[in-house]
Subunit: 344 residues, 2 copies
């Protein structure tokens, strides 16, 4: 008798690409998580879940952070773990209120580094006007973790009646991008690969809530918001095209990419449209409110370079197309596998 | 010139004991986390944080689960991650409502195992009457994780006016233990060490909310609740003695430990008082309500073996003493270092 175990196919093992925000991750979510956890609240398919609690609208979101390296130009895993979750609240139109923090530490991790990270979280929380209200610490054996992983769960309150969701997107909506793209992903990659530039490329990691909340005070009819994290601008647009049902067109000329970031993308063979950001978002508003939206965003430091990059068409093909500077048009797909693992 | 780096002292590195619920963990929390994150809500020092939201009392708690092995007699990391967080809500007197789930997967982890874990979470959530409303998945490279780590954050509502807290504990309070102790920790240790017993020792992992909530319906004046997790009964009692300021006495004869668990503890050199549980708690109530509390707990499967094990004295020395079956009295300290790493 043969004792020859046939190796199982790769499809049955978790791949790095399952965590990169692209097609593989969406498949995993659909086939494993949603199939089992199915309920109407989870099916909202948005950055935060919004639910009724005691007559108010509560927003809840959770994220784990496994970024490598832990410290990078423009931030560290601590500030990132606050910004990322605060931004998910902001993207559902919520005002951030409370944050829980769970640490998974690896045996041997320097307490001094932990102190730096904890201080950085506190600073980011103060800037974001969110209170850290509960925490947990676990330790795993040396070689079974990677320094520190952090989970943050955010709770916020929605103080307006808008339904911020891909399903609220309408044909004719203007799409506004809050700033340049690609800096977070490239800052991380450059550090990993030891790339040197004339000046250091800093991550765009930042809290977006103070930039977004004035849109509601000004009664702008915001249809949808999405921050550009794993999978970048291209993936965010594809998710919204998919969930809204409509075709989205964007103009390459309008999308700002810093020269050094563009150069690094060329060296690394990356398309900036797919590179992760941690302080950028897109805003969908009726075309007639685009100018007021732009001026409101530009009042805040994080939105100073906000631009309209495209619009929603009435074609219901769920696709995204890019009009290049030469006038050619190409389809922008969702990120298919893994581009930059452990970018957040 | 010498290039002879002096190794830093162990005190500056994270040790496994920092995650085990004992003295080291309390020091880390005080010196690193609380020092930086200080705020009144975090200072509640309880299993969940209770805060006012829109005229109601919201309870929030977070926990990460890094248990090894992932599957064990009586449960798996999925059911544990639901029970543990539901119990933290129940221990603040809250009715569980919503749960968020964050997965950190290791590259190469079998999708089939993930499916089992996800199904087990869903089953535990249904039994606990809690809805899974948001999730997140990250993937780390092979050798930088250990299969799967799970964070769950729970949100509940407190529907009574009691202030369940160590600070509500009064001299004369009866202390009720909900069942036998030590099964979770020993089930895990036995599997790790390959110990064989006449019958398999199963973890006590279970949701306690359905056992606890009737106490409030019956208007029992519950002063404090605490589930017995890392550090076991001894650590839970010490935490409450510390935070209430009072002396606690318990009677060894009343504490139920299954024969096989006691045998395993002897083989492994463990004291069952310090062994982790995941479905046991202690309840502090006025002595005159002890009988009604016991009968209420015993109506539920998880509380069938509930017993009064001791009481709170008026001495304000923050200590815990155990009266042995021989009549001798000894001080029960907090777990000092690491006893059973990665037990939850």
């Amino acid at each position: 008798m043969f004792n020859c175990p046939i190796p199982k196919s790769d499809h049955e093992k978790i791949l790095l690409g399952h965590g990169s925000g692209g097609v593989l991750m969406h498949q995993l979510i659909e086939k494993v998580f949603k199939k089992t956890f199915e309920n109407p609240l989870l099916a909202q398919n948005h950055d935060s879940t919004v639910l009724d609690f005691s007559g108010a609208r509560l927003a809840v979101t959770t994220d784990s952070y496994v970024i490598h390296p832990l410290f990078f130009p423009g931030g560290d895993i601590g500030s990132l773990a606050v910004h990322g979750t605060v931004n998910d609240l902001a993207m559902s139109g919520a005002k951030p209120l409370y944050l829980t923090v769970g640490f998974i530490l690896e045996e041997g991790f320097a307490v001094e580094d932990l102190r730096r990270i904890v201080q950085s979280m506190q600073n980011a929380a103060e800037e974001s006007n969110i209170q850290i209200i509960a925490g947990d610490t676990k330790v795993v054996d040396r070689g079974k973790g990677d320094g520190v992983f952090i989970n943050t769960t955010g709770i916020g309150v929605v103080e307006h009646a808008l339904n911020i969701s891909p399903r609220s997107v309408q044909p004719g909506d203007a799409i506004i991008l809050s700033g340049d793209i690609g800096r977070h992903g490239i800052a991380i990659m450059a550090q990993r690969e030891g790339l040197q530039f004339e000046s250091t490329i800093e991550s765009d990691s930042a809290s977006l809530s103070a930039m977004i909340l004035p849109l509601f005070q000004k009664k702008i009819d915001v249809h949808c918001l999405r921050d550009l994290t794993r999978g970048g601008l291209a993936t965010a647009l594809n998710e919204i095209a998919q969930d809204s049902g409509f075709h989205i067109t964007i103009e390459e000329n309008e999308i700002r990419v810093e020269e050094q970031v563009r150069g690094a993308c060329e060296i690394l063979g990356l398309d900036p449209l797919y590179v992760a950001n941690e302080g950028r978002c897109i805003v969908f508003v009726p075309a007639e409110q685009a100018a007021e939206t732009l001026s409101t965003l530009r009042e805040h430091q994080q939105g100073r370079q906000a631009v309209a990059i495209g619009c929603v068409s009435e074609i219901q093909d769920k696709r995204v197309t890019l009009k290049s500077s030469l006038g050619t048009v190409r389809i922008i797909d969702m990120l298919s596998g893994e581009q930059l693992p452990r970018i957040c």
